[in-house]
């Protein structure tokens, strides 16, 4: 019984992490149709931004303040990845709209450059981020059943990010312009929307959310130059399974993969579990090639 509850929680936790790493990609790949292989490296930038914030807090602020570095690190990571995304869009991505396979190769190159850059700046070995004291430990639900605070925190962070994204995309003027451009670029341009600016902003926001993911991942995993490569496949899986173009699809995709992965891993082994999940996804896409939630728009069919 304990184990069942714990595994449910683990599944939810894995889902939340998957969702967090896929949210940014749901925008850059899902909405903008850019196969952004550098997404993992944007996550890496977020993780390193957290590391830098931590180091600054250690050096500049009194020790009592240290626990709060993580609160500061979230916006810092977002901004770092946001600005890099803006730069990327301006210098490279904007020449590649409508050419998904070219964008795949170009962003892959960018990913390699960013990895080696990280290796040059921070060194090849991993760096350590000390998690703040208030995130250590866990919530004891019953005897022998502990939900780690960090995992609960990540679930909360994902929910908050998702909520803000929902407000932005579906409830703000900027979001409406964004949807208009993504759905019918020419018409939006005719109606006076600056598509250039919307593109740049959208890509940067997607990148920024990858930065937040990187920040959260410092709690759970390694922080090193190849960090991004561990997550990129999962991120694409979630977005492709969920269906390109709709946020809700990404959410369902993440929960689906997270839950089944945890179950399969529990029943079999980690390697075999992953294979089974891949098989399920491939089979599913044969049946529904557009993913769980397909958006009907002419622009995506062109």
């Amino acid at each position: 019984m304990d184990v069942t509850i714990l595994q449910m929680f683990n599944g939810l936790s894995v889902s939340s992490i998957l969702l967090l790493i896929a949210l940014g990609l749901a925008i850059t790949f899902g909405l903008m149709n850019v196969i952004n292989m550098a997404h993992g490296e944007l996550i890496m930038i977020g993780a390193y931004a957290t590391y830098v914030t931590q180091t600054l807090f250690k050096d500049l602020f009194p020790e009592a303040m240290f626990g709060w570095y993580f609160v500061a690190a979230i916006p810092v990571s977002f901004m770092a990845a946001f600005l890099l995304g803006l730069l990327l869009e301006f210098s490279l991505i904007r020449f590649l709209y409508g050419r998904p396979l070219d964008s795949l190769l170009a962003t892959w190159g960018v990913a390699l450059v960013l990895q080696q850059l990280a290796r040059t700046v921070f060194g090849a070995p991993n760096v350590a981020v000390t998690s703040p004291e208030w995130l250590n430990g866990g919530l004891t639900v019953m005897d022998g059943l502990v939900f780690p605070y960090k995992r609960i925190f990540i679930i909360g962070l994902v929910a908050a990010t998702l909520f803000v994204m929902y407000l932005y995309i579906y409830r703000s003027h900027a979001g409406r312009r964004m949807r208009a451009v993504m759905q019918n670029r020419d018409m939006a341009a005719c109606l006076g929307v600056s598509t250039r600016r919307v593109d740049a902003l959208t890509f940067a926001i997607g990148s920024g959310i990858a930065g937040i993911a990187g920040c959260a991942l410092t709690l759970m995993g390694p922080i090193g130059p190849s960090l991004g490569t561990y997550y990129i496949v999962d991120a694409f899986m979630v977005v492709v399974l969920g269906g390109v173009g709709k946020l809700i699809g990404t959410v369902i995709g993440a929960v689906g993969i997270g839950m089944t992965n945890t179950l399969f891993e529990y029943w079999t082994t980690a390697s075999l579990g992953k294979v089974l999940v891949f098989l399920c996804i491939v089979a599913f896409l044969q049946w529904k090639p557009k993913g769980l939630v397909a958006m009907r728009t002419r622009s995506l069919d062109s």
Partner: protein
């Protein structure tokens, strides 16, 4: 038409990410070897090859070994070189990609005509290079602990084989920490072979196996695995995870409320360098088995650590494979001096029984299997990120890559 596009894209992505994970990238700076290729022993210099992953996932570990080897070469040159000739390193990048290792090894031997090569880390890279060295009769010095069951005439192994790391540590654990073992490893050749050996040993020495799990390299979520460990309720988790997975595993183990006090873990791939990347708050109290620690108390080690920090920065640490890479250069140099030539056969003959006062204590080359005698040590991670030695063998242990000295291992070496 559109129908299969996404599946196609998905497949391409998968393939590319696999390539990405495996090979990283190739644009790191590699110093150009001298203008024209001259044979290694001609002129006033001897070329030696250094072949490690300077990019890709393994760069995290291998760059430091390269640094140590470069330092040894510089030290030897400062003392007048070998046979009165300066050593000139030719550095190549294996890029964490096994075919690249084989290709670069071929290039070093055939084109650069190096006298010997120091390199490799993963068993996969060694296995990829082995046929090249045997075919071209080159000489490779391999500096990392490995799974044993190998003894190539063209390779000197300066890291530990299983009876110099794993076997004694399992015996120690059985005597001091408990009988119920959970084996956790990354899913590739080293952990699987190591665990095969451990399972035989447990059977023979009265241990009990309560679980055995492997995760893919680069696996980052251990929540399910930790549930399995909790269910199996072992005394000891014997950890053969490699690379970044260790970070995820130990961080998440701590979050699940399991500390070193509740559960003994012993790792064979977590050294000083890895501790820095995982965080000492997470690792404190956990155990590791090696032949050398930065804290190992010998006069040679004090000098070695001081020189290494002076050369590469105060914040750098030394570790077992770094030391093994360093002594490999010295052992080769001593063998060449003794042989009076860099000829592979002569060097191999001269290397037999050669002794060297290494930072980790005296080592001796075993003439039969070209491994070296090493002291086995178990250490506990301290709050400062260093190990405290809690067990050491009385003296250097004779290398026994095929475990011939152990009755229970008969079925293993027969394979």
């Amino acid at each position: 038409m559109k129908k299969s596009v996404w599946s196609g894209v998905l497949l391409v992505l998968l393939a590319m990410s696999l390539v990405l994970a495996a090979c990283g990238k190739n644009n790191s700076s590699v110093p150009a070897s001298g203008g024209e290729t001259n044979t290694s022993a001609e002129g006033g210099e001897i070329k030696v090859g250094i072949l490690h992953s300077l990019s890709g996932t393994m760069a995290i570990s291998e760059v430091s070994v390269k640094d140590a080897e470069m330092m040894a070469i510089e030290e030897i040159n400062a003392k007048g070189g070998v046979l009165g000739k300066k050593l000139v390193p030719v550095v190549e990048d294996g890029a964490s990609d096994w075919p690249t290792f084989a290709e670069k090894a071929r290039k070093l031997i055939s084109e650069d005509k190096v006298a010997t090569v120091f390199g490799g880390w993963t068993s996969a890279s060694r296995k990829a290079m082995l046929p090249v060295f045997e075919e071209l009769n080159g000489l490779l010095w391999y500096p990392v602990q490995y799974e044993g069951l190998e003894s190539s005439p063209n390779i000197f192994y300066t890291g530990a084989t299983t009876n110099q790391q794993i076997v004694p540590s399992v015996t120690w654990l059985l005597e001091n920490r408990g009988k119920k073992f959970f084996l956790l490893g990354s899913d590739y050749v080293f952990p699987r072979t190591a665990n095969k050996i451990i399972k035989e040993q447990l059977k023979a020495e009265g241990g009990e196996l309560v679980g055995e799990e492997y995760t893919p390299l680069g696996h980052t979520d251990y929540s399910t695995l930790i549930s399995k460990i909790k269910e199996a309720d072992p005394d000891i988790v014997y950890n053969t995870l490699n690379g970044d997975s260790n970070v995820a595993f130990f961080k998440q183990l701590k979050d699940a409320g399991i500390t070193a006090k509740d559960l003994t873990t012993l790792s064979v791939s977590v050294a000083e360098e890895e501790i820095r990347g995982i965080g000492t708050d997470v690792l404190e109290g956990h155990l590791a088995a090696w032949n050398y620690y930065q804290t190992t108390d010998t006069p040679e080690n004090k000098t070695f650590v001081a020189n290494y920090k002076k050369a590469y920065g105060e914040d750098r640490v030394t570790a077992d494979p770094i030391e093994a890479g360093y002594i490999a250069v010295y052992l080769w140099a001593a063998a060449v001096e003794k042989a009076g030539s860099t000829d592979v056969a002569a060097v191999k003959e001269a290397a037999k029984g050669l002794e060297f006062n290494a930072p980790g204590g005296k080592v001796t080359i075993d003439g039969d299997n070209q491994h070296i005698y090493k002291t086995v040590r178990i250490g506990e991670v301290q709050a400062d990120g260093q190990f405290k030695e809690i067990f050491a063998t009385d003296g250097p242990v004779k290398p026994d890559p095929y475990l011939k000295g152990y009755d229970w291992a008969a079925s293993l070496s027969a394979e």
